[in-house]
Symmetry: C2
Subunit: 363 residues, 2 copies
Amino acid sequence: MGISERKKRILAAVIDEYIRTAEPVGSKHLAENAGLGCSSATIRNELAELVALGYLEQPHTSAGRVPTPMGYRMYVNEFMEKQKLSLEESEDLNRRLNQKLQELDDTIGSISRLASQLTDYPALALTAAAPVTVKRVDLIYVDANTFIIVLMLSGNTVKSKLVHLPVSVDQGMVQKLSTLFNSGFTGIPEDQITPLLIHSTERAADDGMGLTSVIAAFIIETLSEAGTPEAFVSGENRLLNQPEFRDPDKAHRLMNYLSGGGYILPPAEGETEADSEIRVVIGPENVAEELKDSSVVIASYDAGDNMKGLIGVVGPTRMDYSMVAAKLRVLAAGLSRRLSSGEAPPEGLHNKLILKQNEDHKS
Amino acid sequence: MGISERKKRILAAVIDEYIRTAEPVGSKHLAENAGLGCSSATIRNELAELVALGYLEQPHTSAGRVPTPMGYRMYVNEFMEKQKLSLEESEDLNRRLNQKLQELDDTIGSISRLASQLTDYPALALTAAAPVTVKRVDLIYVDANTFIIVLMLSGNTVKSKLVHLPVSVDQGMVQKLSTLFNSGFTGIPEDQITPLLIHSTERAADDGMGLTSVIAAFIIETLSEAGTPEAFVSGENRLLNQPEFRDPDKAHRLMNYLSGGGYILPPAEGETEADSEIRVVIGPENVAEELKDSSVVIASYDAGDNMKGLIGVVGPTRMDYSMVAAKLRVLAAGLSRRLSSGEAPPEGLHNKLILKQNEDHKS
DNA sequence: TGTTGGCACTCTCTCTTTGCGAGTGCTAAT
DNA sequence: ATTAGCACTCGCAAAGAGAGAGTGCCAACA
């Protein structure tokens, strides 16, 4: 767009400053601190034009200028890539990511916590949504009334469940069912597990006790759960750090929206994805009413098997886009590296656990 | 204690009213609405004495009265048991509890969410902390580089994990290890799994590839995780509903404390546990500095095997103790019933899942 | 033509003042 | 012992005044 170079520099300076201080930026301040070689009067003229063009606005006559969403958009599209994390920052970040990934519990939840912690904004993480299938079914016979179902899924995760029965089964039946399920239920997506299939399996196993349907139910439940994207929101309370949320009502509304798992998924509009894999949705660009004056930065990570997950950060429109984008980029890249390639983190898991044992002794 | 009956009634009325409105309660208001048969002047006298006794205080001369922690304490100890939930309320509550328990995912997290939702205060749930042991170990051979570890724990939960190896193993080794682990590692608590034990197992299996220690590490990690009480905090944002947290800083401080998993565990002082299993910790009675002007209501539930978990609710000292206590009581009782006795909820799990399958077709 | 200094003007923010009302404590009467 | 009445206190909200920041515009200058 035909904006003079100087206008761009001034716009960028205003936005940087506003992001830092959250206060309208005046011409004098700009002339003194932003190091563009001209006087406040000149800047005033330029500012006036930027207002006319729609990139800035003034809260009231005779206050400083504040960026409009359009201004932020320009900022994000044109000026942002300049910022990169220093090497040591990004190393530190990777270190912390590794640490999180080693804890074998709810990975995605802790990633969202990490993102929130790093950026000091609320963060959310969505697990990859992709059709999952069962790779392998094992049934472990425990006793006449008890067995364990173990499912290995297509993303190489394992789910298991203990089943107590009111009736008793013999080991042979468990064996038979195991074979039948492995041949009939593996490799197919949830929606192909029809009542028909279940019934025919039941007949083939000569199962009069409903065992088959218990197992099938667990498979269906597991597939559906694993295939449903799950959202984790963390650090909602960090909103309160932002001056624009000093109004408790405003903060409350947004927090409610977020902790309700408020869905943020932007319209997958074919933005000119200049910046690889990072999407920025500014204020009114959001579809959700609750987000109309907040911004969202979203990075997608590759979870292997063509699955994409998302990490996002929510903040006021006056959000530190560069910082957030830079950090999310590293985080998403690290996540992708870990998840799509082979498996767990580099090494050390095992050693760490052995060490841990000793630590625990103390407590 | 030697407080006249009327004083008690007045105190209770003040507290009830203050809980409702969050505003200092005046004598006139009390005379008109609280239905004690005397005039405002009389009440004024009584109020003055209650202030002298330390049950009430006035924010400033010539404002209404506000309960002190000591006042709340009296209220909790003496007047509270009166409130019971109506039958239908408690049925509704049980219904919702059942529903939550049926979702097989992180039960304890969703219980905490439920508690928060029901009371409209932040809630937290702690899993039972008790030494857990392994009941049974199964190793499922998948392919030369892959096997699945399945652990059945005391408490009848099952944990599993997929292990990829850089080297290849044969099925015989897996078999052998399975037997060894079942005889050597079952029934013993985490702290008895010594490096010594691991080494001797390793030798017995003639395992030169570190397989043994991978499995042992998983067992240790699992036991330690299952034995460590885990805290889930939900609904921190509901704090903002309370007028006492209109000050964002105050709200922020407490929310931070809470979402840091802030530990709330009250000193297990031998309170005269009149009210079965419900503990109320009022304002300054809390040990944590951050909670000094909040209150906590805690119910403990029985998770079987002598394990106790906690559900708690945090709010301002002006918290609706009766309501919270009543709801938590039902919740904890329901949880205990489900967890300690046998197993899953009454029935219907299976049917529900079959139904679910059809629903999912639509989407 | 683009840039700069100067100046009057506008508007918000903060501090102070003022008046009101709620609620108290005390006293005298029942 | 309870009640009615009354003077008093004190916080709070609305109103007013002053200060300061920043603008827009104009005239001068390169």
